[in-house]
């Protein structure tokens, strides 16, 4: 008998949450990395105030992508190294449920990091990033990254140098998400009228939906053995 889909997904998410609350391994690494990233960019762009203000959305998304890469790698490596992935595959649980469970917990962790760095950047870069639509963009964009990141991390888990492989595999594929998210963020930050950036947000949503569907369909093959 198979465990119901929803139960399995929730079990995986709650397992990840409990492990994270006890070890604080993922969030601390991701948050510190993101914080450092923002500081480094801040220093690197210090010389030119205008350049720094124009680069905010780029800095935000690059930081988010790099931090999420770290997180996805660790989160899947933990499953692989401690044999939990095999246990999950042995359990009477459908493959997409495992994928969705990992996706949701990865999304949750990355989202927490994103919601921490938004106010932080508001302070450091002296520009209000806490706008409603910007948070919507962040929610969407991070979800897209989490979807492809989770699937590709499952894929690179078995390669020889997986820490190096995930960024190489993921960054090119993430480009459509990055492009649309940065465009939308820049326009929202500059208080441009909605007709100028709504199309980017819609494109971002479309790309996210396409990626989610692809990941959903292909997760069964990646989680085969």
């Amino acid at each position: 008998m198979k465990t119901p889909f929803r139960t399995a997904v929730l079990a995986i998410v709650s397992k990840d949450l409990r492990a994270e609350i006890r070890s604080r391994e993922l969030l601390s690494v991701m948050a510190i990395f993101a914080f450092l990233c923002i500081l480094v960019f801040s220093f690197a762009l210090e010389l030119d105030r205008v350049a720094r203000e124009e680069a905010i959305s780029g800095v935000l998304w690059v930081t988010l992508v790099f931090a999420s890469l770290l997180g996805f790698n660790r989160s899947l490596a933990q499953e692989g190294d401690q044999g939990n992935l095999d246990a999950m595959l042995l359990a009477p649980v459908s493959r997409p449920a495992i994928f969705l469970g990992k996706l949701l917990s990865n999304y949750l962790f990355t989202l927490i990091v994103a919601l921490v760095i938004l106010p932080l950047m508001t302070v450091i870069y002296n520009s209000n990033l806490l706008k409603g639509w910007l948070i919507v963009t962040t929610l969407l964009g991070v979800f897209g990254f989490s979807a492809i990141g989770t699937l590709l991390a499952m894929l690179t888990l078995h390669t020889r140098s997986r820490e190096a492989m995930l960024p190489i595999a993921m960054l090119p594929v993430a480009l459509p998400l990055l492009l649309t998210a940065v465009r939308a963020t820049t326009n929202i930050l500059n208080d441009n009228p909605a007709r100028e950036w709504l199309v980017w947000l819609q494109l971002l949503a479309a790309v996210t939906v396409i990626y989610l569907t692809l990941c959903w369909l292909l997760s069964g093959f990646v989680l085969e053995e």
């Binding site: 894929l155 595999a169 090119p172 494109l203 396409i210 093959f221 990646v222 053995e225």
Partner: protein, 250 residues
């Protein structure tokens, strides 16, 4: 003292499979077609009034992108069919598609840079379309690295089919970015160019006459012939490796 007698290994070979008739024919047609379209572009088409001889590179530049498009498209088809049917033949085609497509994409980038030097006065600029084309090439370079990094054969085939399907989004982005992002300086020959495009030229009947045969050749015969050859070689290589393992285990 005992004398060691050398055991002569029994002679085993991988059975030779002659090149299929269709492939021989295809190779000849492709070669002739390549020379023909090259001659059309170099000698028959008129010289562009503004750009001069350098404009002729366009007859390779644009077709080579579409050749890469076909090759990467075949990778997607091969990947889907492998996941569905689990026949190794499809994965060989998908892998060959990436190698051929990457070669075409590099031809596309290099010819573009050579053209841009006199026309834009720079080899390279971070224009949206140039950037996305470079990232497309990098995506497939990543494909080859990943492919080399997975040891388990069955797992490699499955995973690379999945990645081949994903990687195709970079091709679509390159194809459509010119219509979506307005600030590109890359000209569009078919349809209206973006406002700030530099180095456009009109698709006169002379240009079309030289372009269409070249485009058709790169779109169909070139990638198909090369992928066929490449996947055949890969199949032979696998047969040799199987035989090697078999002899070693005896």
């Amino acid at each position: 003292m005992t004398t060691k007698t050398k055991v002569m290994p029994t002679r085993q070979t991988v059975e030779a499979t002659p090149m299929p008739r269709a492939l021989q024919l295809l190779t000849i047609v492709t070669l002739v077609g390549f020379c023909f379209t090259l001659a059309l572009g170099l000698f028959v088409a008129g010289t562009d009034i503004q750009q001069g001889e350098i404009q002729r590179i366009f007859y390779i530049h644009m077709p080579s992108f579409f050749g890469a498009f076909t090759a990467f498209g075949l990778t997607v088809v091969g990947g889907i069919l492998y996941l569905w049917r689990k026949n190794e033949q499809w994965d060989r085609i998908a892998g060959a598609g990436v190698e051929v497509g990457l070669a075409f994409a590099l031809i596309n980038l290099v010819t573009g840079a050579i053209w841009a030097r006199p026309i834009w006065n720079t080899w390279w600029t971070w224009d949206p379309r140039l950037t996305s084309a470079a990232i497309m090439a990098l995506t497939y370079a990543a494909y080859l690295m990943l492919r080399a990094g997975i040891e388990d054969e069955a797992r490699k085939r499955t995973f690379m089919s999945v990645y081949g399907i994903f990687a195709f989004t970079s091709v679509l982005v390159t194809l459509f970015i010119i219509r979506v992002v307005p600030e590109t300086i890359h000209p569009v020959i078919v349809g209206a160019s973006p406002q700030n495009a530099q180095g456009s030229f009109e698709a006169t009947s002379g240009v079309v006459m030289a372009l269409v045969p070249s485009l058709l050749l790169w779109l169909t015969l070139m990638p198909i012939t090369l992928i066929w050859h490449r996947s055949r070689i890969e199949g032979r290589l696998e047969a040799v490796n199987r035989l090697k393992l078999q002899i070693l285990s005896e």
